[in-house]
Symmetry: C2
Subunit: 359 residues, 2 copies
DNA sequence: CTTAAATATGGTACCGTTCCCACATTTTAT
DNA sequence: ATAAAATGTGGGAACGGTACCATATTTAAG
């Protein structure tokens, strides 16, 4: 492997060119200690002319800080994560940190041998690169398996580098958790649909075995059982994507009769709406679709999706701030995002509230 | 700033604990040179027990390689970039490189003083962090201003670190360019709409002053002038987002009479479709909307968007591979993405081709 | 049995910074 | 005038690795 060695300018060159010692150059770089105005100006001139910038590598080796954070996530193309990344990047930047992005593309619960597990690999990268802290978004931690190699590696890593995880809290994990009000959001959307008078409500999407999905489903079942004759055929879990809504809705309607469906998120909802449209059914006239998790753009769909704003982005801010707190030795609490809001749009029809909540 | 010093394990500790010299430990880490089986096993045991991983920082200082690439982009939340990032991440990972993500959030042509320019700042970060190479996606380079501070800094950086830019080629820039077939895509969609018989065609979206937009508009005008009575009121430039389609379509229809519109991308198209829907117009019955740039999900919209697959993701792969080639001292060419394809869906109505292309 | 080659191991300079320390010079206080 | 404090400057160790070199031991070859 032939490397075209491009000569980097170092502090020594600056020292030589300006006739000062490296110590003095270092002093002007860091604006610390005493430097005479003459020397300072001479050095600054050389720095400007040579386009010199001190190597963060060398600095890091000494300071043991890289001014870098890592973000690990299972799938960049998932819009749920985009807002999060954006927020994390923004807040990190504000604190002077650069971001390393690791996309594990882990498909979920399907486990492979620990050595090749991309999520374990991500943890190793974090350790090797000596980032100052890491934010892990969902992924393996969201699945039921809890005494895995992954969790061990994670706890081990957390001893060296502070790790904040954006996911529902897991007992055996020592990292800081930042989580959403899963139940509240689900409650809001189900109550809304109930209040509109619908009593044959289905649940569509989400991956079985994933904590968030299971919790939301539990909340859904709890509520639906209170107010309707619950039928376990009214639930279909598959995944979080458009196609899961698209294929799922047909399957769901084949196995039971429904006049309302709660989708796990707006994309699943869109997929369902699209399929229903193709089947000649109108949303919300023939069937009503609500979603439990707002994604960008869904206010532009036809019909626009009635959904829950989970304020996901606020999680990003909280996560980074927890990390910064941890750098400063400040304590932190298990944090939750802002309280979810019901966002009423078209896919559930007009808000009527004429029906009181009762069976 | 109180840092909780978490003691990192170093090669010296491993050396001490295993009773071997650091040289020997280094040899087993790199699987180079001679090491007896006994010592190797002893060392490996210690490494395993201590969870030791060599510091990339220290390694980089010596090797002058960080095994890291930087990606700079103007807006992570723009879905156009997402696929690109995903691809860049994937290919980089395959070559053993980690990604640094820099989101400049530069709003476009509006320039600020060079010092605070986030894009210039991004270049500085790249230099400081000593990444092995950088991929810059659009941003400032896409605008007309060409003898800017930014361009100078960019060329200067490119002398030290290879930079690949995903954008239309700019003369005064020495970096490697990877670009799309801008004109071909526009030609395909306009020809398609013409072939369906429409002769009152508008152009919607895209930021004025941005190279891609100007080139596409030029191509659009060329074609439309050939086959129709061109009216310069049929063009409205604003930006690339949903709201630009949403607000723009109404404005456009107020200033001239149209039966077809080419949107700069699928989001602008969706915005337009949504607004038309609210205005009581049906797409494609009352007016036809085509798009020049495919974004994810637009096949699920109602109506689904007839558009151009620019194979944007292939740009990511090409970009990283150019970088790798450059590391190896291999030559490279100004590269272009795969050839664009017309994707016929619903928003332009059925494909008829009954109308021959003629005025 | 001698010598060369292969194997095995540790010492040390170096990568680009920072920072402590020593020393020199100037300024201020007494 | 003299001590003390403030200012200015450079030398060199350290950060955690790598790799070249020297040296020691074993194995193979003649």
């Amino acid at each position: 492997m032939l490397i075209t060695k491009k000569h980097d300018i170092t502090i020594k060159e600056i020292s030589k060119l300006s006739g000062a010692s490296t110590s003095t150059v270092s002093r002007v770089l860091n604006e610390s200690g005493y430097v005479s105005t003459e020397k300072r100006q001479a050095i600054e001139k050389v720095i400007r002319e040579t386009n010199y910038r001190p190597s963060m590598i060398a600095r890091s080796l000494h300071s043991k800080q890289t001014k870098t954070l890592a973000v690990v996530l299972p799938d960049v193309s998932n819009p749920y994560f985009i807002g999060l990344i954006e927020e994390i990047e923004h807040v990190s930047e504000g604190y002077g940190y650069t971001l390393i992005l690791i996309n594990t593309m882990s498909t979920g619960a399907d486990k492979m041998n620990a050595v090749d597990d991309p999520e374990v690999k991500a943890l190793h990268t974090i350790q090797e690169k000596h980032v100052d802290g890491a934010v892990i978004i969902g992924g393996e931690i969201d699945h039921v398996n809890v005494d895995s190699q992954y969790l061990k590696t994670l706890n081990e890593l957390n001893k060296q580098i502070p790790v904040v995880i954006i996911a529902q809290k897991v007992e055996n994990c020592d990292c800081i958790f930042v989580q959403r009000h899963i139940n509240t959001g689900m409650r809001l959307i189900v109550q809304h649909i109930l209040s509109l008078g619908y009593r044959k409500i289905g649940f569509l999407g989400g991956k079985p075995g994933v904590r968030v999905t299971e919790q939301r489903l539990a909340e859904f079942e709890k509520l639906v059982k209170m107010y309707t004759d619950y039928d376990d055929k009214s639930v279909l879990l598959n995944d979080y994507y458009l196609k899961d809504g698209y294929q799922g809705i047909e399957k769901l309607l084949n196995q039971t009769d429904l006049n309302a469906v709660v989708a796990i998120n707006d994309r699943v909802a869109l997929g369902a709406v699209r399929r229903l449209h193709e089947m000649g059914m109108n949303v919300p006239k023939d069937i009503v679709i609500g979603s439990a998790d707002q994604f960008p753009d869904s206010d532009y769909y036809i019909p626009s999706i009635t959904t829950i704003n989970q304020h996901n982005n606020s999680l990003g801010k909280i996560a980074v701030e927890q990390l910064i707190r941890s750098f400063n030795g400040q304590p932190f609490l298990t944090a939750e995002s802002e309280f979810p809001d019901l966002v009423i749009r078209e896919s559930c029809g007009e808000k009527k509230y004429s029906n009181v909540l009762k069976k």
